[in-house]
C-alpha cells in the first residue's frame, strides 16, 4: 500500500459524512436481517437460499462502493474483504459453515462500531488498527479458488444463452445439476411496452416450482413490438409437471437435462397435490419448533400466509382483454335492445309497419348471434376452481406447520367453473374462512383425543353448480360455534337487545354483523380472528351470500353462494313514480298485478297472501324515498335469494332487457340497496337494485318490532 494519504477529516462529522452514515446504516441493517435469515436456514438444516446469499453479497458490494467514494479508507477495506467472503460463498468457493458466518457477523458489527466513531479525531488511525486484525483473519480463511472451467457444451442449450451466464449463474447451474435437478428451458414472448408484469408473474410462478438460474432476453419474432425471454430453470419437478402448472400464453417449456429420479428435498418446491388426497403430515426431517408460542405463530400467520395474489395476478392478465371483450359485447347487447325498441315504435305507425317487421326480424337474429358471442366469451372467462384449491392446500400446509395442528384438507368439485373475475375476488374470503377454521374451528390434537375425535381434523371444501349459482361449502369437524356465546358477545357489543328473542340459527348469523369478531369467548382460543363481516361484504359485493350452520362439538359449515357470472345480466325494468330501476332477473321469482285492497295490514307491516303463504311486502317508494304514483293497482315483484322472500311493490313494469351492471364512480363509495347502474340506450342511467341487501333489510325490519 502506498503511504497513507492524509484525508481531511474534520473533528465533527460533516454533512457528507452524515449522508454516508445514513445510507450505510440502511445497508447494514438490511445485512443484519439477511444474516439472521441465513443463520436460521442453516440451523434448520434446509438448503440455504442462493438468492439470500446473493442479496447479502450485493449489499456488501454497495457498502464497499459507498465507503470508497466517500473516502473512508479503513471502512472501505473492511467492506472489500467482507465482499470477498460473500463472493466466495456465493460462488461455492468457500463452504458455508460457522467460521464463515461468524466472520460475516463480526465484520458487520465492526463496521457499525466504526461508523459511530466517525468524525472523531484520530478516527482513521484507530479504524485502521481495528480493521487490520479482522482483515488478516479473513484473508487466512479464504482459500485460493480452484476454478473448474466446466464447459456446458454438452448441454442442449443455445450457445448465446450459455455465453451470457455470469460466473455466479454458472455456479448455480453446476450446483443444480450436481443435486440431480431437472433443467428446463422456459421460453416466453411478451409485448415490449408491458413485459415486466407478465415476466414477473411468470418468474414468480416458476419460483414456486424451482429456481430461475438465468433470464435471457432476445428479440421476439416481431422485434419492434415483442421481446422474448428464455428462462433457465432448475426444478425437482419433471418437465410435464411444470408444464401442467404453468398456464401462460405464448410459453414453451422444454427439457434440457433430466434430473436423477430421487429429487432432493428442496425447501422452495411445493409437493404435489391431487384433488382429494391427503397432504402428507409435516415432514419429520426439518423439525421446525413443534409448538411455537401462540403469540409468535399468530404474528407469523399474517406475515407468513402466502399471499394468494399470484392466482389473482395470473388471472388478471387475461381478464383485462376479456373485460374489454365483455364490455364490447355488453354495449352491443344494449344497442340491440335500443334497436328492438325502435322497431316497436315504428311498428305502431302504419306507414312504417312493414319496415318495422323486417327490422324486428333482423334484430332478433342479431340477438341470437350476440347470445352465442356472449356465451363464448363467458366460456373463456370461466376457470375451474382447482387453481384456488391448490393454493389453499399450500396455505393449509403452512398453517399446519405454524399452528402445530394436523388437518386433512379435502376438496370436492375442483372442476366446478366460475367466472375468472369472481374467482379472483373469491380468493381472499376463502382464505379467511379456511384460516378461521384452522385457527378457531379445529382443536389441537390433544383436545381432540380427549373428546374422542380423530387426531387429525378435517376441513372439506365442496363446490358445485346450482342453476345460475355456484355453491361452495367449507365444512370442518372442529369444535363448532356456541350460539349462546355469540349472542353474549353480540349483546356486549350492542348489536342485539338483551330481550330480543333469537333462534340458534339467528344467533349464529350474528357473526356476520359488522363489528363482530370471533374472539376468545366464542371459541376458547386467543388471538385475532378475521372478521366474518369482511367475508360477507366481499361476497355481497359480488352478489353472493354466505350462510353458517354449526353443531357444538361437531363442527361448522359455511356455505357461500355466488352468481356464476357478473357480466351481462337480464334485468327487469320497473317504474316508481317518475323514476325507473332495474332488478336482476335471476332474483325475480315472479311478478303479479294486484289490487291495493289485497294488501293485508298487520302490525304496521304489509303482507300479501300468496297461495296460502304470507309474503312480506316492501314498497320501493319507501325503500328509496321516491314519490309513487297513486294507483289502485300495483305490481308485486317477488324477490328471492336462497330461502328468503319478499314482494317489492312498484307502479309499473317496463320490460326486460339484457344489460351490463357498471359500478358507480364518485365520492360516495357504497349506497346500500344499490348494486350499480346501467345505461339504457339514449335514455340515461338507471340504478340497479342490490336484491340481497333489500331483502335483508326488509326482513330485519319485519323481525324488529
Amino acid at each position: 500500500m502506498a503511504a497513507k494519504k492524509t484525508k481531511r477529516k474534520p473533528a465533527r462529522p460533516s454533512k457528507a459524512d452524515l449522508e454516508f452514515v445514513a445510507e450505510a446504516e440502511e445497508i447494514l441493517e438490511r445485512m443484519r436481517e439477511e444474516l439472521a435469515d441465513l443463520a436460521d436456514q442453516r440451523s434448520s438444516g434446509r438448503e440455504v437460499d442462493p438468492d439470500l446469499v446473493n442479496g447479502i453479497f450485493r449489499s456488501a458490494h454497495s457498502l464497499k462502493g459507498l465507503a470508497g467514494l466517500f473516502g473512508f479508507e479503513a471502512m472501505g477495506k473492511l467492506a472489500h474483504h467482507l465482499e470477498d467472503v460473500l463472493d466466495s460463498l456465493r460462488l461455492g468457493r468457500l463452504s458455508m459453515d460457522s467460521p464463515a458466518l461468524n466472520l460475516l457477523d463480526e465484520s458487520v458489527e465492526l463496521f457499525s462500531r466504526l461508523m459511530q466513531r466517525l468524525g472523531k479525531s484520530n478516527f482513521e488511525s484507530e479504524a485502521q488498527s481495528s480493521v487490520e486484525e479482522l482483515v488478516a483473519r479473513i484473508e487466512a480463511s479464504l482459500q485460493q479458488p480452484a476454478v473448474s472451467s466446466d464447459d456446458f457444451k454438452t448441454l442442449d442449450l443455445d450457445p448465446s444463452l450459455l455465453r451470457a451466464l455470469t460466473e455466479y449463474e454458472e455456479h448455480r447451474l453446476r450446483e443444480n445439476i450436481n443435486r440431480g435437478r431437472h433443467l428446463l428451458l422456459v421460453d416466453s414472448t411478451f409485448e415490449i411496452v408491458a413485459f415486466e408484469e407478465g415476466l414477473s408473474e411468470l418468474s414468480g410462478a416458476i419460483r414456486e416450482l424451482g429456481e430461475v438460474v438465468s433470464t435471457l432476453p432476445s428479440p421476439g419474432e416481431a422485434p419492434e413490438s415483442q421481446i422474448r425471454f428464455s428462462l433457465l430453470v432448475a426444478s425437482d419437478l419433471s418437465c410435464s409437471e411444470v408444464t401442467e402448472r404453468l398456464d401462460f400464453p405464448d410459453t414453451n417449456i422444454r427439457l434440457v437435462i433430466a434430473g436423477t429420479a430421487e429429487a432432493s428435498k428442496a425447501s422452495h418446491v411445493a409437493p404435489e397435490t391431487q384433488d382429494s388426497s391427503t397432504p402428507s403430515p409435516p415432514v419429520a426431517d426439518a423439525p421446525v419448533a413443534k409448538q411455537p408460542s401462540v403469540e409468535e405463530s399468530k404474528a407469523d400467520l399474517s406475515a407468513g400466509i402466502e399471499s394468494l395474489k399470484s392466482i389473482s395476478d395470473t388471472v388478471r392478465v387475461d381478464i383485462r382483454k376479456l373485460d374489454e371483450l365483455m364490455n364490447l359485447v355488453g354495449e352491443l347487447v344494449i344497442h340491440r335492445s335500443s334497436i328492438a325498441g325502435i322497431a316497436e315504435r315504428l311498428a305502431a305507425d302504419s306507414t312504417t309497419r312493414r319496415a318495422a317487421g323486417e327490422l324486428s326480424k333482423a334484430q332478433n337474429s342479431l340477438g341470437r348471434k350476440l347470445k352465442e358471442l356472449q356465451a363464448s366469451v363467458l366460456d373463456v372467462r370461466m376457470v375451474p376452481l382447482r387453481q384456488i384449491f391448490e393454493k389453499l392446500s399450500r396455505v393449509a400446509r403452512r398453517l399446519q406447520r405454524d399452528l402445530g395442528k394436523t388437518v386433512n384438507l379435502k376438496f370436492d368439485g375442483v372442476d366446478t367453473e366460475l367466472d375468472k373475475l369472481i374467482a379472483e375476488k373469491l380468493v381472499d374470503p376463502l382464505m379467511h374462512v379456511v384460516r378461521n377454521s384452522f385457527d378457531h374451528g379445529i382443536e389441537s390434537a390433544e383436545e381432540r383425543a380427549q373428546i374422542g375425535k380423530s387426531a387429525e381434523g378435517t376441513i372439506r371444501i365442496e363446490a358445485y353448480q346450482r342453476g345460475n349459482h355456484v355453491v361452495i361449502q367449507i365444512e370442518d369437524d372442529g369444535r363448532g360455534i356456541d350460539p349462546t356465546l355469540v349472542r353474549a358477545k353480540a349483546e356486549s357489543l350492542g348489536l342485539v337487545d338483551r330481550d330480543a328473542i333469537l333462534t340458534d340459527k339467528e344467533c349464529l348469523a350474528l357473526i356476520f354483523a359488522p363489528g363482530f369478531s370471533m374472539r376468545d369467548e366464542v371459541s376458547g382460543t386467543s388471538g385475532r380472528g378475521v372478521g366474518m363481516d369482511v367475508v360477507r361484504s366481499n361476497l355481497s359485493d359480488m352478489g353472493g351470500i354466505v350462510d353458517v350452520t354449526s353443531k357444538l362439538g361437531r363442527g361448522t359449515t359455511l356455505t357461500l353462494t355466488l352468481p356464476i357470472t357478473l357480466a351481462i345480466i337480464q334485468a327487469l325494468l320497473v317504474g316508481v313514480g317518475k323514476q325507473r330501476f332495474a332488478i336482476p332477473l335471476n332474483s325475480v321469482l315472479e311478478t303479479l298485478l294486484i289490487d291495493c285492497s289485497e294488501i293485508q295490514n298487520s302490525e304496521e307491516k304489509e303482507i300479501l297472501n300468496l297461495r296460502g303463504e304470507p309474503l312480506h311486502l316492501r314498497r320501493l317508494s319507501d325503500e328509496f324515498g321516491v314519490t309513487p304514483s297513486d294507483e289502485d293497482r300495483q305490481y308485486v315483484v317477488v324477490l328471492g335469494l336462497g330461502e328468503l322472500r319478499i314482494g317489492l311493490l312498484v307502479d309499473r313494469l317496463e320490460g326486460q332487457l339484457d344489460t351490463v351492471i357498471k359500478s358507480i364512480q364518485g365520492p360516495i363509495a357504497q349506497v346500500r340497496g344499490i348494486a350499480g347502474a346501467t345505461e339504457i340506450g339514449d335514455r340515461g342511467a338507471v340504478l340497479v337494485i342490490d336484491v340481497s341487501s333489500v331483502i335483508e333489510d326488509a326482513l330485519r325490519r319485519r323481525d324488529a318490532a
Binding site: S62, L165, T166, I192, L199
Partner: protein, 128 residues
C-alpha cells in the same frame, strides 16, 4: 445531441456515472435505468448513442443485456461499455466476447470513463 443510457442498480453509483458523463458536454443527455428490465423498456424509446451497464444486477444481468442488444438488429450498432467489479475475469471475457466495446473495472478514474466514452461517441471512429 448525444444520448447515453446508464444501467446500474446502485443509486449512488448511478448518479455518479451520470454526473461523470454529463461533464462530457452540454449536448450530452444521460438517461438512467435502475435495472436491466428498465433498460429494455427504455431502449425502444430513443436513439441512444452509447450504453453503459453494470454486470451484477437483480433481474437480468449486464451480460444478458449486452447479448440482447448485440443480437438485435435495431441496437447492435450502439457502442456498449461494461463497468464491473474486478472479481470476475471470466465475466469480463464473456462481456467482450458478447460484443461489448469496452470493459472498465471499478473503481476507475472518472476521466477514464469519459475518455472511453468520448472515443466511442466520436463519429470518426470506425467500430470493429
Amino acid at each position: 445531441m448525444q444520448r447515453i443510457l446508464i444501467v446500474e442498480d446502485s443509486a449512488t453509483m448511478r448518479s455518479l456515472l451520470a454526473a461523470t458523463l454529463e461533464e462530457l458536454g452540454d449536448d450530452v443527455k444521460v438517461t438512467e435505468a435502475a435495472s436491466g428490465f428498465e433498460a429494455l423498456r427504455l431502449l425502444p424509446r430513443e436513439d441512444y448513442d452509447l450504453v453503459v451497464t453494470d454486470i451484477n444486477m437483480p433481474d437480468i444481468n449486464g451480460l444478458e443485456l449486452v447479448s440482447f442488444v448485440k443480437r438485435n438488429e435495431k441496437y447492435s450498432s450502439i457502442p456498449l461499455i461494461i463497468v464491473s467489479t474486478e472479481g470476475s475475469e471470466r465475466d469480463r471475457d464473456k462481456g467482450l466476447g458478447l460484443g461489448a466495446d469496452a470493459y472498465l473495472v471499478k473503481p476507475f478514474e472518472p476521466e477514464t470513463l469519459r475518455e472511453v466514452a468520448r472515443d466511442l461517441l466520436s463519429p470518426s471512429e470506425s467500430k470493429g
